[in-house]
């Protein structure tokens, strides 16, 4: 596992020597705060929980995660360092995993840094901290899926802009897949079973279930499988690039 570790440390360090990390953290924390307290009616609801906070996460990730992942492979392909990295003794999977873990840990750090909100809600009332923990877990898992999508699509292209846009589009499609508007659109054209399938693809649905404090194995599996699936697709894309 040493090469995975080395790649992960290098990636994490590169977040922090370039402004990427600080810009991300500041914007994430400020937006999370504003959206929770103003748009989310945190006080007016009169409930001691973090629902308004977690509800905003998918939309924050939608903008911010592609910004983190777009450079992951595209930058290496453009700068020629991909050749350096892939001629070092490591497998494509190890390289992919190292980069993925770096981004995932980084988002984990961003989530940890939202602790003042948690303190606030504990100060104001007595929330169910188990539910809040589940919310954090669900949010982190969802971020992992977004990162895996971004990692895969960054491997597709050497243009960071293209990687950003593709990732955002795929993520928004997966978020909205279960919304009634989308399902209504397919009503009548697709068989009911397929529509149900589309509904189950929805990230929002699985995330909301976890964030409500219900840890269902199916929801956890959904996120784990989607991470594995997208990362595998990314590895295959990288491999394809070597043969093309």
């Amino acid at each position: 596992m040493s090469p995975v570790n080395a790649v992960m440390r290098r990636e994490l360090r590169s977040y922090f020597v370039t402004p990427v990390a600080y810009v991300f953290l500041v914007i994430f924390l400020v937006l999370a705060g504003i959206l929770t307290f103003y748009a989310g009616d945190f006080y007016e609801r009169g409930q001691a929980d973090l629902q308004p906070f977690f509800v905003m996460h998918p939309w924050l990730y939608l903008i911010l995660v592609p910004a983190i992942t777009m450079r992951m492979w595209a930058e290496e392909a453009k700068g020629g360092t991909l050749e350096l990295l892939l001629t070092l003794p490591l497998t494509l999977w190890q390289a992919m995993l190292g980069k993925f873990l770096a981004a995932w840990l980084f988002i984990g750090l961003a989530l940890v840094l939202t602790f003042p909100i948690w303190i606030t809600v504990n100060y104001l009332g007595s929330p169910d901290n188990g539910v809040i923990l589940a919310g954090y877990l669900g949010s982190w898992l969802m971020a992992g899926s977004f990162i895996a999508i971004g990692a895969c699509l960054s491997a597709l292209t050497s243009s960071q802009v293209v990687a950003f846009i593709l990732t955002a589009v795929v993520c928004v499609l997966l978020l909205l897949a279960g919304q009634p508007q989308v399902l209504d659109f397919f009503q009548g054209t697709l068989p009911r079973r397929l529509i149900n399938g589309v509904a189950h693809l929805s990230m929002l649905r699985h995330f909301t279930a976890i964030a409500r404090g219900v840890l269902d194995v199916r929801d956890l599996l959904y996120f784990l499988l989607s991470m594995i699936g997208w990362l595998t697709a990314g590895v295959l894309l990288l491999d394809l690039k070597r043969t093309r």
Partner: protein, 316 residues
């Protein structure tokens, strides 16, 4: 050892490397020569395991680069074209990343690290960001990366490209020093480099192997091999007489400085007869030289179809 067998790589319709079979043994420094776009870098990328061959095989120290990529990569130190590295890292961070990637334990890693930065004289720039370094320094960082794990096989893609003469000299010394027990493959389009470094030359053009020889053998293919050149003012008369010598094939005069080159017939030695004749004529010869042959001319002959290079008389 590096072996390739019918190594081929196509990009769509273009065949970048065409059935290339070479074998480089320990102790050899093989210069891979060819015009730009001849397929040098593509061949090296396949041997390094970055590109997958369309057909054919490549082996490093006996390990097939497709079937046992990690073993092959461990045996190989590789400097990709342009010496890419992570610009936002300092030299120290970058080389320590390589130390970790190469799987050294802490002690051995630090020893190798110290040794390599000393060898490439990188002590003073350790804490600088790579993107702020000059081209020459970046190249040295790339070289440090390639030799860090003291590999038995070293492959350098244009190692001295863009360096000033002093830096080139330093890099060549380094390669010379490493050459003894290692297998070294370097690509270049600088012919001076071949003389300075290589004991074997492979010339490729349009992806195909065109020549495989020692530098001296290549020079013998030159029209200039065995030719005698001299500068002698007022030698108009003797030119005719030289032309009448039975061993002489042709005479050319450089239009710029009036230097005369006398070409031998195949297999003939002409230095002595020419010298004798000049002495008999009582000519002041300021300097006379026996030519070894000119690699650039051979290179042109081999890599351009018609061999037009041989027809030009001017000195390169």
């Amino acid at each position: 050892m590096i072996e390739t067998d019918q190594l081929t790589r196509c990009y769509g319709n273009l065949t970048a490397v065409d059935a290339l079979s070479i074998r480089v043994e320990p102790g050899q420094v093989l210069g891979l020569l060819g015009p730009n776009g001849a397929g040098k870098s593509t061949a090296m990328r396949m041997i390094a395991g970055f590109l997958v061959p369309t057909s054919g095989t490549a082996r490093v120290c006996g390990y097939d680069v497709v079937r046992e990529p990690l073993k092959a990569k461990r045996a190989l130190g590789y400097l990709p074209e342009g010496a890419p590295s992570y610009g936002e890292m300092t030299v120290r961070e970058f080389l320590q990343f390589i130390v970790r990637m190469r799987g050294f334990n802490a002690d051995a890693g630090y020893r190798r690290f110290d040794e390599v930065i000393h060898r490439l004289q990188l002590e003073e720039v350790l804490e600088l960001c790579i993107e702020t370094l000059s081209k020459g320094l970046r190249r040295r960082v790339g070289l440090a990366q390639a030799i860090l794990h003291d590999p038995p096989v070293l492959m350098l893609d244009e190692p001295t490209d863009g360096l000033d003469p002093n830096q080139k000299h330093a890099v060549r010394q380094l390669i010379d020093m490493m050459a003894r027990e290692r297998t070294i493959l370097i690509s270049t389009h600088l012919l001076e480099e071949v003389h300075a470094l290589c004991n074997r030359v492979v010339i490729i053009a349009r992806g195909k192997l065109m020549a495989d020889a020692t530098p001296a053998e290549l020079e013998q293919r030159s029209r200039y091999h065995g030719a005698v050149s001299f500068s002698a003012p007022g030698s108009g008369m003797s030119q005719e007489m030289l032309g009448r010598l039975p061993q002489v094939a042709a005479i050319e005069v450089d239009p710029l400085d009036g230097r005369i080159t006398v070409f031998p017939k195949p297999g003939e030695r002409i230095l002595e007869p020419v010298e004798t004749l000049l002495r008999e004529q009582g000519l002041e010869v300021s300097e006379i030289q026996l030519e070894r042959g000119r690699l650039d001319e051979v290179f042109r002959q081999i890599t351009t179809n018609g061999g037009t290079g041989a027809l030009t008389g001017g000195r390169a």
